[in-house]
Amino acid sequence: MKTVRLIYQKTGRAKYISHLDLNRLMQRVLKRTRLPVWYTEGFNPHAFVTFALPLSLGYESRYDCMDFRILNDDLRNDQMLQVLRRALPPDIQALEVIDPVLKAKEVAFAAFELELTCDTDTAAQLTAFLQSDHILVEKRNKKKEIITMDIRSKIRQMEIIPTEDGLQIRLLLPAGPVENINPALLLEAAENSGCVFDVRSVVREMLYDKNMNIFR
């Protein structure tokens, strides 16, 4: 038995699939492949799958990972990629099947690309807001208490690019089991500061470990 990692994109209408629903979908996808996948024992057997990092409902992802176990060690990764491609719905595209290099808990950063629509005044206002020294947001900590946090210091990288009808924001944020910052927090803070805009899309572009190696 070996563990393999499927790298895939979740785009288009697949962004409306919640994490829980994705889990159920992948069970069915694996069944459709008829690959010799390892099932848990017990009352309600299911394929054992783990995801590197859950994705919020409504976000797209260009690089996501799911691990599962395969009983036949001789199966080649490219063979599995072929059957997975056929078994997945159109808006989830399999990119690669690999032998995992890093452990899921080693995810440390995620890159996001946000597309906002707004008028030019708001764009300037937003840019100024995002570039200020402190951005305070309210967040629940692990004990479920509400705490105030300066999110500005958490942003590893930020790029703000004006577009025809608004802004594109590229962010590198802490992600994973140690610390996880959802870009929604930043958008909420901007809204609370009085900026009026539409979020056209949020795309998670890439996952990294703490040394900024691509998560594989």
Binding site: R13, Y16, S18, L25, K31, R32, P45
Partner: protein
């Protein structure tokens, strides 16, 4: 609609997955390359509609046709409706995201009377005229199917065509004909006249209904050339009939989230209150080889972990034993569970229990319908009390300590003793549990009684009967609860006001189209949902139209009266229904079709003219 518009539209909506499509096995075609676009509408939520087998069959069937693209449409929930209005959009189909107003044929499947207003609601949201007479061209033809069309009269003013009976074959003929007429630029009227010649195609506008001064029907007359009566369509051979090779697999959880394989149509039993048992006659079985093969194909293409063997009474399937043996071979290997809904309590053997336990333990529900032997004889639910108790014991032995029992209140001839007998039967089941020397250790027994309100339905032996008044039903419910002496029995029921409305529309006539239209104007929708149902609005709608609820729900009809659905022929004869009604009054039972043919007339629908050898 673009993806961006969809994104905007769904902002703040609960369960956006209801409205996005894109699921596994959903069919996308090039709309410019098809001749006929068919919007298959289920007038309830996505979760309910996606659980429905008939829709899956017709979706696959239509998309198998050259030049035809069938898409799915569900009723938007209240929050989504607001967003649609905010964005100035109509109801749209999940595959192309196009408004249903762009479709050639708009089909609704009508599974229960309380969804009629949703049909109007959906048409209205897309700006489609509600009345058939106001839609002048072939475009936006509104067609309906499903069990409710066995009395299509209350919706007659809205629909262009109602399909009677089973849709698989007539649908292909119908759409083919539409394709030709559309290509020739024909007008709606000539198409409807031609379509009415297809068996099972009922075009209400070709018939005129006249009434007596007291509001009962005087006569139904057909325009020249239109058939009278209109006979339902049935599939002759289920082994060769179309069955889908795959199902659309929803992303979000739906009510029945599993593969479904149909094992037979019709029912041998002849329970007198049961409309399905009458209108789907005669019984036609699939061979176990076909069932197993089709079931495997579905599991492979969907990846479902559960397959349900579906019919009105699956334990009556004559080849259940070889079927289960064959299926267990591959289901166990593929980690697939088999579920058997609609088990009859008297066919519930330890061997069967062992087989279903091997695949899945799910809750057991037994439909006993009436508490007392005598009343069960009246309704022809032929179950012996000893058998009921014995089967419960079998269930307890198999580790099922919760049994659910289903009863109806308001059955013909019912007395307060009958009501008390429901509680007493529950008590006997509880006693039986404690009398077992080998009862499961450390576990108690729980009997849950669920009560429905009897609704007299057309094409059944009780089609002439009055429904109990609302107050009577409520008194009976209270009486039952008060007669219970143990907490091991619990009782629950649904709002009975909705059952009154169901009774009205089940046996209604064409004049009710006005009431439906008025109720829709007053904002009635999702009437099957207690959070939306508003009886006051309905009472107002009836008052505004000068019609009475009691006339339809609580009036006993005479045998001489022309019933609004008499011109719709479901194979069973009126003579048979009368006979059965008389036998009910005398508490005489009728044998099931396999034991002895009761001469209902449905055999005439079969090519050979016989249901079983005994016909």
């Amino acid at each position: 609609m673009t993806e961006l518009q969809l994104h905007k539209l769904l902002r703040g909506v609960q369960k956006p997955g209801r409205y996005t499509g894109g699921e596994l096995n959903s069919v996308v075609k090039n709309k410019d390359a098809v001749d006929v676009r068919f919007a298959f509408c289920f007038p309830d939520t996505y979760e309910i509609g996606m659980s429905h087998l008939g829709m899956k069959i017709l979706y696959a069937l239509l998309n198998d046709m050259d030049g035809v693209w069938c898409e799915r449409v569900f009723a938007p929930w209240v929050d989504m409706e607001q967003n649609l209005r905010r964005e100035g959009m109509g109801v749209y189909a999940l595959e192309s995201l196009d408004d249903i107003a762009q479709f050639d044929i708009i089909g609704f499947t009508l599974q229960y009377e309380l969804c009629y207003t949703n049909m109007l609601h959906m048409l209205d949201l897309s700006g489609i005229p509600l009345h058939s007479k106001d839609r002048h061209s072939l475009h936006n033809l509104v067609v309906v199917g499903g069990p409710c069309t066995c009395n299509a009269e209350p919706i007659a003013d809205f629909v262009d065509v109602a399909f009677l009976g089973e849709g698989e074959e007539q649908m292909v003929q119908f759409v083919q004909l539409y394709k030709e007429y559309k290509a020739n630029g024909a007008d709606k009227q000539s198409f409807l006249k031609a379509a009415a010649q297809i068996r099972g195609v009922y075009v209400p506008s070709l018939y005129t209904v006249s009434y007596h001064p007291d509001g009962t029907v005087e006569a139904v007359t057909a325009e020249s050339g239109a058939p009278l009566p209109i006979q339902k369509y049935i599939i002759q051979d289920l082994d060769t009939a179309f069955y889908p090779k795959d199902f659309v697999v929803p992303y979000i959880e739906v009510v029945h989230d599993r593969a479904v394989e149909e094992v037979f149509r019709g029912c041998i039993r002849g329970c007198r209150f049961c409309q399905a048992g009458m209108i789907y006659r005669p019984v036609r079985e699939k061979s176990w080889e076909t069932v197993s093969k089709q079931a495997k194909c579905l599991c492979d293409s969907t990846g479902y972990e559960e397959i349900s063997l579906s019919s009105l009474s699956t334990s009556d399937y004559s080849q259940l034993e070889p079927l289960l043996n064959d299926m267990l071979e591959w289901t166990q290997q593929d980690q697939v569970n088999i579920s058997l809904p609609s088990l009859r309590i008297d066919t519930f053997s330890p061997e069967l229990l062992e087989k279903i336990s091997r695949v899945r333990k799910s809750g057991l529900i037994f439909a006993l319908v009436a508490g007392r032997q005598l009343l069960r004889e009246v309704i022809n639910k032929n179950l012996d009390e000893d058998v009921i108790l014995q089967s419960c014991e079998t269930a307890f032995r198999g580790g099922h300590c919760n049994v659910k029992l289903y009863f109806m209140l308001g059955l013909p001839t019912e007395t307060l003793e009958d009501i008390e007998a429901i509680g007493q039967l529950g008590q006997k089941i509880v006693n039986r549990f404690y009398a077992m020397p080998d009862k499961p250790k450390g576990r108690g027994v729980q009997v849950s009684i669920s009560l429905a309100t009897f609704v007299p339905k057309p094409h059944t032996p009780f089609q002439w009967m009055a429904q109990d008044k609302l107050q009577t039903i409520r008194d009976k419910q209270r009486h039952l609860v008060e007669s219970l002496t143990t907490r091991k029995i619990s009782v629950s029921w649904h709002e009975s006001q909705a059952s009154v409305l169901e009774a009205v529309f089940a046996r209604g006539d064409r004049r009710l189209s006005k009431v439906l239209c008025r109720a829709h104007e007053l904002g009635c929708k999702f009437d099957g949902w207690h959070e939306c149902f508003d009886m006051h609005k309905w009472e107002q709608a009836f008052a505004d139209c000068g019609l009475s609820i009691e006339f339809y729900a609580n009036r006993e009809r005479s045998y001489e009266e022309v019933l609004p659905w008499d011109h719709l022929d479901y194979g069973i004869t009126k003579g048979f229904l009368k006979r059965e009604n008389e036998r009910a009054k005398a508490a005489q039972t009728t044998k099931n079709c396999r034991e002895q043919c009761a001469g209902c007339g449905a055999n005439r629908l079969l090519r050979g003219g016989t249901c079983f050898e005994n016909c």
